[in-house]
Symmetry: C2
Subunit: 332 residues, 2 copies
């Protein structure tokens, strides 16, 4: 039966059933005032019997807090912001905080509208996230804000970001530890901050084992396939291809297989993202770098809870990535 | 500069700057009471100058509404619930309603906890969604609830669902219109409602053109590749393979290419989902069925707004899918 027509029990119903005044019922349920334990217990039983739920908006108004956090995202595809959001929601719900979702769809006017609405709702804090690692302009609101994944351009703001330099380096060190000595790099557009940072870290970590120049293209399987042809003409002796994303790495593996080059026996391949639909479906499955975005979301939420409680941690904070090793470097 | 330390202007600051009493300032900003237009205008200018934002919680308490909707999802991977959520958020934000995200991670205890919390926050309504099209047990709360994608087992509840029967049929009718006369079907586990519904619709729409029996396996590219081998042994003359998902269809295309069978010249292939990372990256790109989940989210939100306003539409409501045609049936 649809239950939407039943009305919610009120505190007056609880009071009537318990045979006390409304103010006594309220004190009993809020654990305030001077009451006999027997009275409190009777009120509690009446509340339970009626299925009465206290109105948390009262708690909110009296504490001056709304126990609500806004999450502003520009990332309507959600590849990066969804795990961050789920991690944040997980950490916040443990603290009885609700997460309000605001998807700006990359529209600055929409962002302004959301900010006004969140401030008007007296949210206790705001998380700002996006799909790119480029720093973004800070938002101007009189409540705590934390930036996740996309840092604020203001170095005094709290920004929780991925250590992409360390992540790209970890893949290369893994390849070196397997004895690879001619490592190429295929990645996304060099207009993207993440592509540049990971390429620089790859070159630095590979040292003399770096082969040629980083190959920049689009973040796609198609580019990965095409890059293999470009690469094998220029660097026929390459024994490893590190990639800036799992999509690119999957394309690289597909093309190498079509050319009858064995992965990893002839050429080892690494990806980046640990996006399961790419990394696990790739043939062979990809060794890759997990940015641990859900954990990033949790850390962001906990830092925001600290800031709301009055203890801010200004400045950027880089979180470590995790290397996941699979058949594309280890073989079967 | 981090702006979290600045305090918010209060209504008393606005009143002082405008040279009026607090109650006059409040009336002016809420457009209530009897005031001269000049006074209202002076208060508005003062509010603007100070960057004062009215506290919407007051509006909420006085109206008895919170202007907030909860979204309960069991789908932590988010493949299906994320577009629904974004569509719902889009429709709700246009009506100044906030969407609170509750990810139960398929844990019934977590769901109970969230329901209590949402009721205690006096949300105006709840959207329930999940990753499967199997009907689910209704939730028991004294506010309007709408089920999206995963319908309620109670036929009197409002459930907004995908017309999977029509969707699967549309792919087959497209194949028939192209002259295909031996159509096979490869899909997910027959324990899944969506796999069974789509298979039945495919058989019905294909009629005499249906080849063999539906092949049930997992929702994966690997199963798609394997199914091709099974199928071509049993039905060597097949000229079309309709698939229950884009992942399966992509695997089918990959295996056919490895066997040097041309898609679509020898065998046309259709997918289901229009999941761009599969449908567009497939070689060739997939003709597929889009479930229009974002639109489903929008419709769900609008039905919930109706229900909150007192006008419920009980019962299931099926929304149409959209056939997207690409090279896997049309060629280049």
């Amino acid at each position: 039966m649809a239950s939407s027509l039943r009305s919610q029990p009120r505190i007056t119903d609880v009071a009537a059933l318990a045979g006390v005044s409304t103010s006594t019922a309220s004190k009993a349920l809020n654990d305030t005032g001077q009451l006999r334990e027997e009275t409190r217990e009777r009120v509690r039983r009446a509340a339970e019997q009626l299925g009465f739920t206290p109105d948390s908006r009262g708690r909110a108004l009296s504490s001056g807090r709304s126990f609500t956090v806004g999450l502003i995202t520009t990332d309507s595809s959600g590849r990066f912001s969804i795990p961050i959001m789920l991690g944040a929601e997980d950490a916040l719900s443990a603290g009885e905080m609700a997460l309000v979702l605001c998807d700006t769809r990359d529209d600055p006017l929409r962002e302004q509208h959301y900010l006004k609405s969140l401030v008007s709702r007296r949210v206790d804090g705001i998380i700002v996230t996006g799909r790119r690692t480029e720093p973004r302009a800070p938002i101007d609101v009189p409540i705590p804000v934390i930036y996740a994944f996309s840092p604020s351009t203001d170095p005094d703001d709290t920004s929780v970001i991925v250590d992409d330099h360390g992540g790209a380096g970890s893949a290369v060190r893994h390849l070196l530890s397997l004895g690879r000595s001619k490592i190429a790099y295929v990645t996304g557009p060099d207009s993207h901050h993440s592509a540049r940072v990971r390429a620089a870290a790859t070159i630095e970590a590979a040292g003399d084992a770096f082969a040629g120049e980083p190959l920049h293209g689009e973040w796609s399987e198609r580019w990965g396939r095409h890059a293999v042809d470009v690469l094998l003409r220029a660097q026929p002796a390459v024994d490893a291809i590190a990639c800036g994303s799992d999509q690119i790495a999957r394309g690289v593996c597909d093309r190498l297989r079509e050319l009858s080059r064995s992965v990893p026996d002839d050429i080892a391949v690494t990806g980046y993202d640990n996006w399961s639909v790419m990394a696990l479906a790739s043939r062979p499955p990809l060794t890759t770098v997990d940015m641990e975005l859900e954990e990033l979301g949790r850390r962001t939420a906990n830092l925001l809870l600290d800031a709301i409680a009055g203890s801010a941690h200004p400045g950027p904070m880089e979180l470590p990535t995790r290397l996941i090793t699979r058949e594309s470097t280890l073989g079967t």
